[in-house]
């Protein structure tokens, strides 16, 4: 996954060659027809998460960017669904709000007004629902421009963590990251939990430490990030959530960076 949500869902030139758009109609701005999302506008960056012994820890910063402008500095990108599931979203923030405040709210309201099922909607169920939604929307060529992580646990109280993106692509794993996090954070997280078995021996403290370290790296290197983030721990007992601010920042390393801006050598 690419650092730039603008690039998501687009054919990569190095794979497909440059896109020949010559057959596409020229659209006059303001022509009165319904336009589907062709690119995200206000975007959130990475979401990262790690499974540990008895739960999942998930984090996302609070910035919503408008291109390179840090437009909104306090946007919650983690959503608690029901009592024991957390969904984290990157990508288009209006699509995220639609999913969080409309789709998921509706889902939970419908669930609580239906006859008792004795099997509450857990993370795997919410995840399946979202993945069908995102896939259905991409199939109508009207995608929800997001990458989502769903964290929680299954019926047997086993930690659950899985990902779905704007194309409906699904996968799970002991550590996941979307956006720029897939490049920078995931290698760090995979060092702690290379596989499913490893995650069963990791404590909450270890997992939290790894996630915090990864968030720090992301802040230093991802230009669309901010030094404040939301972090949540999901266990069968429920969700614990807090806000973190990156303290004691040091930009000394920046002096040694060569190749950008004025210091080109």
């Amino acid at each position: 996954m690419n650092h730039f949500p603008e690039g998501w869902g687009r054919p990569r030139d190095d794979v497909y060659g440059a896109y020949d758009g010559s057959h596409l109609k020229t659209v006059q701005p303001g022509a009165g027809f319904n336009q589907h999302t062709q690119s995200p506008i206000v975007t959130g960056t990475s979401v990262i998460a790690v499974k540990y012994k008895d739960g999942v820890v998930i984090a996302a910063d609070t910035l919503a960017s408008y291109g390179s402008l840090a437009r909104f500095r306090d946007v919650e990108r983690l959503k608690v669904v029901g009592e024991k599931t957390v969904v984290g979203a990157g990508g288009d923030m209006s699509d995220m709000q639609y999913i969080f405040d409309d789709v998921l709210e509706r889902l939970m309201i419908k669930e609580s007004y239906s006859p008792e099922s004795h099997s509450p909607l857990l993370a795997p169920h919410v995840y399946t629902y979202l993945s069908r939604l995102l896939y259905a929307r991409r199939s109508r060529l009207n995608p929800l421009w997001n990458a989502l992580l769903v964290a929680g646990h299954d019926e047997h109280d086993k930690p659950f963590l899985a990902s779905v993106d704007l194309l409906g692509t699904t996968f799970d794993g002991p550590a996941l990251a979307t956006g720029f996090g897939a490049h920078l954070a995931l290698p760090l997280l995979r060092k702690l939990v290379p596989n499913e078995e490893a995650s069963q021996n990791v404590t909450k403290e270890q997992a939290t430490e790894a996630v915090k370290a990864a968030m720090k790296v992301l802040f230093y290197r991802d230009a669309r990030s901010i030094d404040e983030y939301s972090i949540a721990w999901v266990t069968p007992q429920g969700v614990e959530q807090s806000r973190e601010k990156l303290e004691n920042q040091s930009w000394k390393f920046a002096e040694r960076i060569r190749g950008y801006g004025t210091q080109t050598n």
Binding site: P115, E116, S117, H118, S119, L121, P124, H125, T128
Partner: protein
């Protein structure tokens, strides 16, 4: 000749507050052969008597598997049951597809109750002419529900619907306290014992006319039809009704004075109302202590 002017549609009450078309639909259930359902702590069982319209014809299907965790037994109009079972399958499948979660039994039963009720409130519609026993297992354990064309659904520990089902019900009423703690084999045996009591005088349970289905906690819905039923009939031993045995071997049989069934050969006449009798699937356990489940005005 008396003519009932309040039974031309399903949306008109009689002055007594009855909807005759709905009551006739309940009568249609009694035209169908018997089906019995019962539950223990771990299993839910359906047994049913199949009928063939004529000697050379095949037997009508009585038990239908819907999903791996539940199925139905029917009494009444089989085509109506098929429509309902198709709908239930859709519901069950969409639950799996959308949520990756097997549908809760009560939810799927409620969904067909809703459909049935709509038919009792729209002009030009006909109530379903079929009663169902829905047996399944969900997160809360095994369940047995009865569905009626009125839109009424009730949960039971044991229930029987269809022709001469009162005899089976009598058996269930006398024995239901045992059901809770018996194993799968015993529960099926109880079901067959209840079912055989609803046999016509000259009939007995055979592998051709008996269907058995069982579903348990951690066990998928299994349907025994045809040859596979014989194993269970062998375990049962006696395949005649207790009434017939009492007549044929009066000395040896224990006195099981089954009250004569309230079975009526209705022609859809208004006179044959269900007044004063416990309707199909009457109370077999304390789940319906008032025994008012037939009262569609409830």
């Amino acid at each position: 000749m008396f003519r009932n002017s309040y039974d031309n549609d399903s949306v008109t009450f009689s002055p007594q507050g009855r909807i005759f078309q709905v009551e006739y639909a309940l009568e249609a259930i009694k035209q169908g052969s018997a089906a019995v359902g019962l539950v223990s702590k771990t299993h839910a069982v359906l047994v049913a008597l199949k009928r063939n319209a004529e000697e050379l014809g095949s037997y009508q299907k009585k038990i239908i598997g819907i999903d791996s965790h539940f199925g139905i037994a029917l009494a009444g109009l089989a085509p109506d049951a098929r429509v309902l079972s198709n709908f239930m399958r859709q519901q069950a499948m969409s639950s799996r597809l959308l949520y990756n979660r097997p549908i809760a039994i009560k939810r799927v039963v409620d969904s067909i109750a809703e459909k049935a009720q709509v038919n009792t409130q729209h002009y030009g519609r006909r109530p379903y002419g079929v009663g169902l026993l829905v047996a399944g297992v969900d997160k809360a354990g095994p369940h047995l529900w009865e569905f009626q064309p009125s839109g009424m659904v009730l949960e039971y520990k044991g229930a029987a619907i269809g022709a001469r089902s009162q005899s089976a019900r009598t058996y269930l009423e006398r024995n239901f306290e045992e059901f809770e703690n018996v194993d799968k084999d015993e529960l099926i045996k109880h079901g067959l014992q209840a079912l055989r009591d609803s046999l016509a005088q000259d009939k007995e349970l055979t592998s051709a006319n008996t269907s058995i289905a069982v579903v348990g906690v951690g066990e998928d819905f299994v349907l025994y039809d045809g040859d596979s039923v014989q194993v269970w009939l062998d375990k049962l031993g006696e395949t005649r009704s207790s009434r017939r045995r009492a007549e044929e071997e009066p000395a040896t049989t224990e006195a099981t004075t089954t009250e004569t069934t309230t079975e009526t050969t209705t022609e859809g006449a208004a006179g044959s109302s269900t007044e004063g009798q416990t309707g199909p699937g009457g109370p077999a356990g304390p789940l319906d202590p008032a025994g008012e489940n037939m009262d569609t005005t409830e």
